[in-house]
Amino acid sequence: MESPLLPEFLVFLGIEVFLMLSLLNCLLDDRLPNAFSYIYQIAALFGFGHLVISREFFSAFGDHVRFWYGLIYLIAALANVVAINVYFGVVKRLWTLAKAWLGAVIFPAIVISIVFVFDYGIVQRATLPLQIGLIVSAIATSLSIAYPLVRAVDRSKKSGKKGGEN
């Protein structure tokens, strides 16, 4: 059974993540370095180049090579999403913004990525370690997102006021 998804879909997903980051950077340019918007556009263009090369050398690369290149690019995009969150939380101390970013950007981006990688992996009968790795990463992501949110809700309940300290 062939998957309706090609490994290049992961690159396409990575491009979308980079473009989303670029636009969000533009909206939050008073809190983030100005150049980031353009750097993420260049990263998305790099992904586009990746797709063009994949098309030209379609038969030269095997499915596995194409999948891993796509996955690495997607992970690089997701790592940037997480890095911005760390920047807000640790460097800028913008806790409310960091929490909002966690719930509104990181969570959907990672869940959508996991769904598509999983879908591709299952249909292509990927090796067991990859699937176990994805399950573990999905659980770890969910816990890491849920824990600070639950703590923030608890704190706000205890203090009897809204928990944002930005």
Binding site: D29, S37, A44, S54, R55, F58
Partner: protein
């Protein structure tokens, strides 16, 4: 102040336009990759193999994808080939196949047809249990050609047997030859 308010929307608009451009171009490239046909040549999963009762003068074609069986028929006696031909599943997964009539000569209406009584092909599994029959019979000078068999599931790495029975009518003329073409349809 006016300058700042003006700059941000313009920058956002430019980024939005380039984003749409990159997304559209990427989607077009992805679509073109998806539409690119990819054909890999592999061995046939269902192939023919010579049986223990392989008739002399028969030919097993290249890559075992076709076979020409040279069978005889005796007047007023049933001649049985217990294992002239095997159908082999070379894959580890099971596949389905069926037998389908394509053509036969001499055509119905020709007087030579009346020399034959029947030519039966029976698909048997490894235990010798019949899975399907594919029988050619005659009524006077007319062939009764069989309908395609139902699709039979051949387990992975298994060979089934094609068992053949032939019979000519009493007083049939010798040297009458019937040529039939049977297709084996395989579902991947």
């Amino acid at each position: 102040m006016t300058k700042v308010v003006f700059k941000k929307p313009v920058k956002l608009l430019i980024l939005l336009l380039t984003s749409v451009l990159i997304t559209t171009a990427s989607a077009a490239v992805y679509y073109s990759i998806m539409m690119q046909p990819s054909i890999t040549i592999t061995g046939a999963t269902i192939a023919f193999a010579q049986g223990n009762d392989w008739p002399s003068g028969s030919t097993l074609g290249a890559n075992s994808t076709w076979v020409s069986l040279a069978l005889k028929a005796y007047p007023n006696a049933t001649l049985t080939y217990e294992q002239p031909l095997n159908v082999s599943n070379t894959d580890s997964a099971s596949h389905t196949f069926r037998l389908r009539h394509v053509s036969i000569t001499p055509a119905s209406g020709q007087p030579q047809v009346g020399n034959f009584t029947f030519i039966n092909f029976i698909v048997m599994d490894t235990d010798g249990v019949s899975q399907a029959s594919f029988n050619y019979t005659t009524t006077s000078t007319t062939w009764n050609t069989p309908s395609p068999t139902s699709y039979l599931t051949l387990p992975g790495s298994t060979q089934w047997i094609i068992y053949v029975e032939t019979k000519a009518t009493a007083g049939a003329n010798s040297d009458i030859v019937a040529n039939m073409q049977i297709a084996v349809d395989v579902q991947e």
